[in-house]
């Protein structure tokens, strides 16, 4: 009798252990998750130090003015930066006071690596005039970058016979991918 009860208890214990083991296996369920994200081509642009090309004190005819602004660019693709005067003199987009304009040959720019420097590409080392009819290159062959700067130095030579007035223009910087 005692042996029978003991045997029964052993069998019961074995059944319970087996049941726990099986339930433990059944409780272990695995599945997989596959995170996915689509990253688009992304470009950012900010123009800094723009007040450096707002020469607020009056300057005499024949004066030379200069100023440097910086373009800050971020891109996960190759990029190009260009500039074009988009308003000013009615036909040439040169600096104008509404009646007179300053010839484009007197208003030139160069560009170089700013801070932080772009990791690839090149700027304009020899001064070239702004062109109201076309985009002109500022930085070509730019490579992927989280943040870089391109310094653009403006040089304005006011002709000695330039009529007095307040001369303005708008220059639009464009960054494109590829």
């Amino acid at each position: 009798m005692k042996i029978g009860i003991l045997l029964l208890m052993v069998i019961l214990a074995l059944v319970v252990m087996a049941g726990l083991t099986m339930s433990g296996r059944a409780g272990t369920v695995t599945d997989t998750v596959s995170p996915t994200v689509t990253v688009s081509t992304t470009v950012s642009l900010a123009m800094e130090d723009v007040s450096n090309v707002e020469w607020d004190t009056p300057h005499g005819a024949g004066s030379s003015l200069s100023g440097t602004i910086q373009a800050r660019i971020g891109a996960n693709t190759t990029w190009t930066l260009t500039v074009q005067p988009t308003s000013g003199h009615t036909t040439t987009n040169n600096l104008t006071d509404g009646s007179h304009s300053i010839p484009s040959s007197c208003f030139t720019y160069t560009s170089a690596a700013g801070s932080p420097a772009p990791s690839g590409g090149s700027g304009i080392s020899s001064a070239i005039p702004f062109d109201g009819a076309n985009q002109t290159n500022v930085w070509t062959g730019g490579t992927t970058t989280a943040d870089c700067g391109v310094a653009i130095t403006y040089n304005l030579q006011i002709p000695a016979n330039q009529a007095p007035g307040t001369y303005t223009a708008t220059h639009t910087y464009t960054v494109t991918s590829g």
Binding site: S40, A46, W55, H59, T80, Q135, T140, T166, Y167, T168
Partner: protein
Amino acid sequence: MKVWPARVELTIDRGETAKTVVRVGNEGDKPIRVHVYAMDFCADKKHGLSLSEPGHESFSCSAWLDLDQTDFELAPGESKEVKVAISVPPEVEPGGHHAALLFETVSLKVETAFSVTISARIASLFYLTIPGVTDADVFASAEIVSLTMPGLAAGGPVEVGVIVRNTGNVHLEVAATAYFYGLWGRNVGELDLGQVVILRQSERVIEANWEKTPFLDKVKAKVVIGYFDEHGELVNEDATASFWVTPQRKIVIAAAASLAALLVLAWLSRRRYRLRLERR
């Protein structure tokens, strides 16, 4: 200001309308006013991008773009979606069509004695493929027009490039790599020239600088371009050209130094001979 995607590629049937979204964000610490508009564009041989009024360029699709909003303000850190509907006319040539969607920040004009108002804009370039009646109506192909490299180089960096013409009727992304071999055929270098998008019936230059040139060698450059055709198959084309790498300045200096050394040796030898004669 940030724009994404900066490049949109879609295939749309004639007479159909497709919709997409381009997002713009203000990453600065001041509010900005944004003006959105479409323009034509083309890319010239030397990477130069040229923008023009809608309808000016052949294969323009700027007139097909319809925007749900064109002027809005963004607070610092705010971003917005611009919904773009592209409606392809029923009668249009199959193949590639393209346009630029421009996001421009509007700046306040400053009136000082001489001042330039600076405006910034980012282009999201749209490349559309319009299928034809048959698969053969759209084809992608390119050819190498010529290689650009010097005949003689003093050493690195050497500008190496390839002019590629898109001979297909759809835009093409072309990659190029240059392989360099020395006089005895041994590999002396490799240069990734990069990749560009070439519009239909256009040419572009793909170039890079080779820095680590050999000291003195006749270099044969093999430039290989690669692109995917209309079936998605990889196509490679190649062209070769040779140039000399001769550090002329260093050779002249070395030759001058050797000549000077020889002259000094000759003088010393002659002097020693005279001294011997005098002793005798």
